[in-house]
């Protein structure tokens, strides 16, 4: 197995996630795309963990998973709050803070 094949898979998933963040209007779909991005980062961390023969990559991947779980919890609570106030979660309509 080559190092580059795991890194390239991570890059593909990262770019698909970036496209999702840019293209989607629904706030829940944007959060899902962010999960794709975080997963590609984890893949890279574990590949480098094997390459360098060190356990640190595993530890970092676990920390990233925990941060992602916290992020989804708070993010969905915010989406719920926006929906309760606005009856929509389309990100195009949230323009109160526009300069």
């Amino acid at each position: 197995m080559l190092t580059a094949q795991f890194l390239l898979l991570g890059a593909v998933l990262f770019c698909i996630g970036v496209y999702g963040v840019l293209a989607r209007k629904n706030a829940v779909m944007v959060l899902m795309s962010i999960e794709l991005i975080l997963n590609s980062v984890n893949l890279n961390l574990l590949a480098f963990s094997v390459r360098n023969g060190s356990v640190d990559g595993n530890t970092f991947a676990l920390y990233v998973i925990a941060v992602a779980a916290a992020e989804v919890g708070v993010g969905l609570a915010m989406v719920l709050l926006i929906y309760r106030n606005r009856r929509t979660i389309a990100l195009d309509d949230l323009s109160e803070m526009k300069g």
Binding site: L2, Q5, L22, M29, L43, A61, L62, Y63, V74
Partner: protein
């Protein structure tokens, strides 16, 4: 090159799982139904867990299944159902400038692929495939509770703050 250097079975497994993951990820960002997108995300996350097993990180793979496929997906489905009365397909999931995302993503992938291939090329992941063994969980815990204890504390406080914040935000009053 010796046959043992090729790791044929692992490479075939990697290829199949990668194709599944990329297809699932493309479906996540293109499908016009939020619940279907969440279910395609399950495919991607499970594929990622399988890749972690290929990378001999079994503890992270189990955690991935428990946390992502178990907890986070349930949160997503709850979020979908609490914010959308109807479950069927919706035509307005994309921005009006959604097409701009394609060149941005392609450009980004081009740059990253160039750097990765330039930097790592055909470098082997490990020199001796026979020496690749499972990462002992004891080593991970030694790492977490040794040099990375301070980030672990910070992470505990982050999770506590996230739980309290989520309750405060979602409270009805």
């Amino acid at each position: 090159m010796l046959a043992t250097d090729l790791l044929v079975a692992q490479n075939i497994g990697f290829g199949i799982i990668s194709l599944m993951m990329i297809f699932g990820a493309l479906r996540v960002v293109t499908v016009s139904n939020v619940v279907h997108a969440a279910l395609w995300l399950v495919v991607v996350l499970s594929g990622a867990a399988a890749q972690y097993l290929l990378l001999s990180a079994e503890f992270v793979a189990v955690t991935q299944v428990l946390v992502y496929v178990g907890a986070v997906m349930v949160l997503f489905l709850f979020g979908t159902m609490l914010t959308r009365a109807r479950i069927g397909a919706e035509g307005d999931l994309n921005n009006k400038n959604w097409a701009l995302g394609i060149p941005v993503a392609l450009l980004m992938f081009g740059v990253m692929a160039w750097v990765i291939i330039d930097g790592f090329g055909d470098e082997k992941l490990i020199d001796d495939p026979g020496s690749m063994s499972q990462v002992p969980i004891q080593a991970i815990s030694d790492d977490i509770f040794g040099p990375y204890l301070l980030p672990f504390w910070a992470l505990s406080f982050l999770l506590l703050a996230a739980v309290i914040g989520a309750i405060v935000l979602a409270r009805k009053d």
